[in-house]
Symmetry: C2
Amino acid sequence: MTGTVYLVGSGPGDPELLTVKARRLLDAADVVLHDKLPGPEILGEIPEDKREDVGKRAGGERTSQAEINERMVELAREDKSVVRLKGGDPMVFGRGGEELRHLAAHDVPVEVVPGVTSAVAGGAVAGIPVTDREHASSVSFVTGHEDPTKVESSVDWAALAATGGTIVVLMGVGKLPEYTAELRDAGMDRTKPVALVERATRPEQRVATGTLESIVDVRDEAGIEPPAITVIGDVAGDRDAVVEWLENERRGEQADARSE
Amino acid sequence: MTGTVYLVGSGPGDPELLTVKARRLLDAADVVLHDKLPGPEILGEIPEDKREDVGKRAGGERTSQAEINERMVELAREDKSVVRLKGGDPMVFGRGGEELRHLAAHDVPVEVVPGVTSAVAGGAVAGIPVTDREHASSVSFVTGHEDPTKVESSVDWAALAATGGTIVVLMGVGKLPEYTAELRDAGMDRTKPVALVERATRPEQRVATGTLESIVDVRDEAGIEPPAITVIGDVAGDRDAVVEWLENERRGEQADARSE
């Protein structure tokens, strides 16, 4: 008998943004393979004896993708029900496709359980719609943290700028100076609104806003740190009109939580 | 007293892909404003006396966005807890931004509850990762069904093709001939893999695959109908390697469901 491996998205960090299915599979799983991306609130709700952290190993090195792939197959062949829990959605810069192909190639039954991606949710909870009928007919997601074995970036920033749509950069804090420079060089307006959303949907969520010109300074002054997404586009300027109400709601919820 | 309006994403259609928070808010709501996009499985689980269909009105016309906006404010001012339920994610081509701004401008407390977007989930459950370390460094979402009051499309298909990343078209069945022609004219390879995913994550889910050249004929032969997404890019060719295992799993679940 071979167990099933579920490639499950954990959403952006708030445990309530797990899907009902993810919650059910986590409860039923024999083993949950994870790294730290799902965040402490979600990981803290999973019993310790089910959890296997494949984001680190003795000596401080990261577990390689090949080792994770092997471990999933090994556990499935022991007829375990395995949840491979991934931050956000498993197929959005999460190597979910590679894991899916590996499992299928080794005759392991597999199912993909989509999650809420922080690329969408990060803006949404900060009052920024990633698309808008008036001024964003498309939205593109890229990662600021490409495969380090690649010699040069394969992201065509000039083409992304030319779409005229919103650009969302995941894991986009560290390389912010590089890609904002590429976008300026490609002719994007220096006054284009840009927002950084750190730890979206989690209790410590922070938002900082500026322009394509100012955002690196804004980042440094605010001390924005990973994990965070960057939203580039006119929609990032929509936040001002709504933020007072969103923030009131958020503070209200936190006050409610404290008084319980 | 003014009630809160929750702009809630219902996900792609499978009720288990609602978030835990969406499920909680639906249970607690006084009124759920919806159209038909969340799909019959999700709407069927909401008690009839809570539901208000704002997708249609007497005479067969659609309720206008202005009327929906007014109705949300009206209910909140009656101190109702209002869920505005939207298919997928409220901020991905869902006019969530407009509703958010309207509510904030009328001093109505509002919260956005992100959902699983079918733009990501549609591919994922069909075995297609929207990004891939090897051959898709970005993914762009566009809608095939733009605001009908716009004179010409504001989507720059040539720029999207130039990104080299995956393109996902939501509501993309009807205009498939037009935008595949635009992509070919922009120089995209005619053999580029394309997949259509109809009613993703729902019991009647169907997938049809072809190339940029063949996909219109494929659509017609398979009789693919809305709602469906179109995935354009090398990732759409990844499906073959994994589909046998995904389909086995899906059939197994359906057999389980029947035997219960």
